[in-house]
Amino acid sequence: MKSTAEKVVAGDIRAVARLIRDIDDGMPEIREVLKEIYPYTGKAYVIGITGAPGAGKSTLVDRMITHLRKEGKTVGVLAVDPTSPFSGGAILGDRIRMQRHSMDEGVFIRSLATRGHFGGLTQSTRGAIDVLDAMGKDFILVETVGVGQDEVEVVKSAHTTIIVVVPGMGDDVQAIKAGILEAGDIFLINKADREGAEKTAGDLRLMIDMDQEKYRKGAWRPPILKAQAVADKGVAELVEEIHNHGRYLFETSDDIKLGKKRVRVREELTDMVEKRILEEVINNITKTAEFDRAVDSIVSGDTDPYTACEELVLPALGLSE
């Protein structure tokens, strides 16, 4: 019997699909599997695609897959859609736009819901990226709606981050949050058939060019492209710019490259430590008889939640006198 990790590395679709599910569901067993597959990761090129709802991200991903497949590359897709805050359920519809690739063995597409567990999206998406990387996908495309902090965090850890904007929404450019603007390696104005594409491009250029000093020192100057994803216009140029950015990343001196890697690894490890501490501490507190008793006492009116919370948390953190 092959282990899960062995199956994943061998490209077994069911094992891959199941492992991503287990990661998403936060099953503790995955830690061992992720450890085992880690040595097989680091080969894939990760592209983040973010932007407002309905900007055309999935349509774009669909077209990008076609172009990358023509180059002979294999592709993994993670398409993230929001979880309903009311029910905890989600409708994940990004696949609709990518139907034509469903029978292509060189393409693996997975829909993920944000699920709203704090910091969890970043964690589980990174885990899923590692899985697709270990299974041997050359390119991994991650689509998220650029609204929440978490969603932006996800695409920031990509090699190349593409920000998709559409013209004619008035303050569209101003509406791009500062954090998102800085994360963009390529800006793509989609639906360029619409009025206002020129103006949007001009506005973006102004914002991006603000820091000339940075570019004089050799920093990557994000290009601004126009496209019509539905008509496959401008997508070849986009893919070309992604390759340019990739070359920029890998041709920068080893010092810079290693430095960047250090920064990314430090960030990811910090995240992971944070999440693990929260998980362990919270479980230690909430999965106890004491906690259940506290709930009972609050319900029966014997104590208040503020006191109960203090009594539970302070001793657990070694802070009670």
Binding site: R14, A17, S84, G89, Q99, I109, R110, A113, H117, E279
Partner: protein, 134 residues
């Protein structure tokens, strides 16, 4: 955070008929019940449906059909699932079918058939009772 497993359901519409209102309504009902719904749109072949269901690791596929293609398409989905070793994924159907077709489909292995007579609440309840995350 350790959490409860989420039920994942794929809503698919095989065949050639041109609108998907019913499928969209049921997708929303599932979402509102707390399930994760993968919606794949119109005109899917059975092969495409199964491939997507496997990649998405769903617990159930809900097939919806109006154009009478169910007699061939629904069992075909089951057949391909078996070929791929994925027969643990439950398949249900929805649409307007003659009584004798319903019996035949169930015999072929379609776990449940929902007709316009089934309310959304009944359908959701059935899923809650019968579909456990694998």
């Amino acid at each position: 955070m350790a959490q409860k497993r989420k039920v994942r359901i794929m809503v698919a519409k095989p065949g050639l008929d041109g609108h998907d209102r019913g499928a969209r309504i049921i997708a929303r009902a599932y979402r509102d019940a707390g399930f994760e719904v993968i919606y794949t749109g119109l005109h899917q072949t059975p092969e495409e449906i199964v491939e997507a269901a496997i990649q998405e690791d769903v617990d159930m596929i809900g097939l919806s059909s109006l154009a009478g293609a169910h007699k061939y398409l629904f069992p075909r989905v089951l057949e391909i699932l078996r070929e791929k070793g994925a027969e643990d994924i439950v398949v249900c159907g929805g649409g307007i079918f003659p009584e004798e077709d319903i019996a035949a489909l169930k015999k072929a292995g379609i776990k449940e058939i929902f007709t316009p007579g089934s309310s959304l609440d009944e359908i959701v309840k059935w899923v809650e009772d019968n579909i456990k995350p694998r």
